[in-house]
C-alpha cells in the first residue's frame, strides 16, 4: 500500500518482511551442517536406488497398496505400525528438543538442508552478501541476467531431481527413470514431480526463513518443550555488555577500565542469521538453533584474542548462575528428560519386538452367505466358508487348512491354498460332518491355516458351523 510519502508499506498482522541476505559463515557448526546436508541427502537421493530382495529396498507402492521397507512388506492392515511410528517420532522430537533445543531445525530439517544447498548455489552465481544486495538493486543487464538465470537453472534442476526422487519412492525408480527418458510418465507422476520440484524451488529459494517463522507449527510449540536447562544458542550478556567498538589493540584485560564488554558490536551475528534476528536480545522463537552466530562470533573473538564463546550453546540456568560444562551436563539428566527417555525406549522396544515377531500370514474367514448349511449326499451336513489368506512373506507359499472343534468334522475341498509372494489368495472351503452326530444349532469351530514350508507360520481363526433342524 502506498502512503502519501510514496513509501511502500505492508499492513500486516506480522512484521513486514524484508529479504534477508544471510552472510555465509565458516566454522565448527557450519561444517557440521554441511556434513548433515550430505548425510541426509545421501540417504534421500540414494536410498531410492538401493536394491533389496530383487526390488527397491524402500518403496511405497501406492498402486499395489503395499509398502516395502527392507525385509518388511506392509499392507493397509498394518496401518497401526504407521501410527506407532508417528508416536515414536513425536517422542523422539520431545526428547531431543527438551535436551538440546532445536537441533533438528538447525541441522536436519529439509527446509534448512535445501535452503543451505540453494544458498550455496546462490553464492556461486551472485557472490557474497554485499554483492547480492548490490546485484538486486542494479538494473537488469546481461551480467545480472546470466547470474540470476544460472542460479535458477541449477535451482530448478535440483528441484526436479528432488521431485523425481520423491516420486521414485512411490513408483519403482528404475521404471520411473525409463519413463522420464522416453517422456512416458503417467499424468500423476508428471504432476507430482513438478509439484514437488516447485515446492522445493519455492521453499528453499524464496520462502526460506518465512517457512520457519510463519508456517512451521513446531517453532510455535517448542516453548512448551523448553525449560531453563535446555541447550540453546545464547549470548553471554554479562560478559558482552556494554558492547561497543574499540581499537583492535585494546588490551583484553583492561576492558573494564574502558567500560566495555567483550562484544565489539560488529553486527556479524545479525548478518549471518538466516532468520534475521539479533541473538543478543535473548532467546527468540525465530531462532532455529543453526549456530551461524556462534561460528562467526568465535572468529571475531579469535581476531580480538578474546576467549571464544561470547555466543555459545548453553542453558538459561547456566548463564544466570555461571555454571561450567560439568554443571550443565549434570542438569541435563533431569526427571523430564529421564521420563521422555524411558517412554522412548519402551516405544522403540515395543515397535522392534512387534516387527520381529510379526506373523507373515493373515487369515480372514467369512461364512458363505449364499450357501447356508445344507445336507449333501444324504449323509453329511456341509458349511461353506471363504478363506482369504494374506501372505506377506516375500516367497510363494502353500497353506494347509485343518479344522477342529467338532469330532468328525473334515474338509471336503479347498483345504490347500497357494499364495504367491506378498499377495493374497482366496479359497472356498467346504466343511462336512456326518448327519446326526451333533445336535442342531451353531457350533464353534476353528480353522488352522499352516504353511507347508514353515510350520511355525500358522494362524487359527474361530468361526461357527451351523447344523439345520
Amino acid at each position: 500500500m502506498s502512503t502519501a510519502t510514496g513509501e511502500t508499506k505492508v499492513i500486516s498482522l506480522y512484521q513486514s518482511q524484508k529479504k534477508i541476505y544471510a552472510k555465509s559463515v565458516v566454522g565448527r557448526f557450519a561444517n557440521l551442517r554441511v556434513f548433515m546436508v550430505f548425510f541426509t541427502q545421501a540417504i534421500f537421493y540414494g536410498l531410492a536406488w538401493l536394491p533389496w530382495n530383487g526390488r527397491q529396498a524402500v518403496l511405497f507402492d501406492l498402486n499395489a497398496r503395499k509398502f516395502y521397507i527392507f525385509d518388511w512388506v506392509f499392507w493397509p492392515q498394518d496401518v497401526l505400525y504407521l501410527t506407532y511410528l508417528l508416536i515414536v517420532s513425536a517422542y523422539a522430537l520431545f526428547f531431543v528438543t527438551a535436551m538440546a533445543g532445536r537441533v533438528f531445525c538447525g541441522y536436519a530439517c529439509p527446509q534448512t538442508v535445501y535452503t543451505e544447498i540453494f544458498m550455496w548455489i546462490e553464492e556461486k552465481f551472485e557472490g557474497d552478501r554485499a554483492a547480492r544486495i548490490k546485484l538486486d538493486q542494479a538494473p537488469m543487464s546481461a551480467n545480472k541476467l546470466w547470474r540470476k538465470g544460472g542460479k535458477h537453472f541449477f535451482w530448478v534442476l535440483i528441484g526436479l531431481w528432488t521431485g523425481f526422487t520423491f516420486v521414485g519412492y512411490f513408483t519403482p525408480i528404475h521404471t520411473l527413470m525409463n519413463e522420464v527418458f522416453t517422456l512416458a510418465t503417467g499424468p500423476w507422476e508428471t504432476f507430482w514431480i513438478f509439484f514437488y520440484a516447485f515446492a522445493t524451488w519455492g521453499n528453499a529459494g524464496f520462502m526460506r526463513e518465512q517457512v520457519c517463522k510463519y508456517m512451521c507449527p513446531y517453532a510455535r510449540f517448542q516453548s512448551v518443550m523448553f525449560d531453563r536447562d535446555t541447550m540453546i544458542v545464547t549470548y553471554d550478556q554479562a560478559r558482552g555488555e556494554p558492547r561497543g567498538g574499540r581499537k583492535k589493540s585494546a588490551d583484553p584485560v583492561a576492558l573494564k577500565s574502558l567500560n566495555l564488554g567483550s562484544c565489539v558490536d560488529c553486527s556479524l551475528c545479525v548478518q549471518v542469521c538466516p532468520t534475521g534476528i539479533d541473538i543478543r536480545e535473548g532467546l527468540q522463537y525465530e531462532c532455529i538453533g543453526c549456530s551461524a552466530c556462534i561460528d562467526v562470533c568465535d572468529t571475531v573473538m579469535d581476531k580480538m584474542a578474546y576467549p571464544r564463546g561470547l555466543i555459545r550453546y548453553s542453558t538459561e540456568n547456566a548463564l544466570e548462575k555461571s555454571w561450567g560444562a560439568a554443571a550443565i551436563r549434570e542438569h541435563m539428566l533431569r526427571p523430564r528428560i529421564l521420563i521422555y527417555f524411558a517412554v522412548l525406549v519402551a516405544l522403540v522396544g515395543g515397535l522392534t519386538a512387534s516387527l520381529v515377531l510379526r506373523n507373515p500370514l493373515k487369515v480372514d474367514v467369512i461364512r458363505d452367505q449364499r450357501v447356508m448349511a445344507r445336507e449333501v449326499e444324504g449323509r453329511y451336513i456341509e458349511n461353506i466358508y471363504k478363506l482369504n489368506v494374506m501372505n506377506t512373506a516375500e516367497r510363494a507359499q502353500r497353506f494347509v487348512v485343518t479344522v477342529d472343534g467338532l469330532p468328525d468334522a473334515q474338509i471336503n475341498r479347498g483345504g490347500l491354498i497357494a499364495a504367491d509372494s506378498a499377495s493374497t489368495a482366496a479359497s472356498s472351503v467346504a466343511v462336512r460332518i456326518p448327519v446326526d452326530t451333533v445336535k442342531p444349532g451353531s457350533h464353534t469351530i476353528h480353522f488352522k491355516v499352516q504353511s507347508e514350508q514353515d510350520a511355525a507360520i500358522s494362524v487359527t481363526e474361530k468361526t461357527v458351523f451351523l447344523v439345520p433342524r
Binding site: 498482522l13 518482511q17 500423476w188 510463519y214 508456517m215
Partner: protein, 88 residues
Amino acid sequence: MKFNIAMWGAVLWPAFLGAALADAVLFTLIDPETIMLFGVHPGVSRPSAYTVGFFVLWIIMIAASVTTLWLHGNNADGGEATHNRSRR
C-alpha cells in the same frame, strides 16, 4: 482484513499437512478401487484417486482454516495475533 503471503503460508501449510494425513488415513482404510459413486464404479486408477482425494481434502481444509482466520482474525486484529513475537 488483509491477507498477506505469511498468512497464506499459515493457512496453506497446516492444511497441507492435515490433508496429507487425512488422505493417508482415508485411503489406508478404503481402497479407491472399491468405491462406488452414485451406484457405479468411477473407473479411476488408484494414483488418480489418491491425488484428487488429496487436493479435495486440501481445499476443504484451506476453506476451514481461512474461515477460522477470517472469523477469529478480525476479532483478534491488533490483539493476540500481533503478539506472536513474544519473547521468552
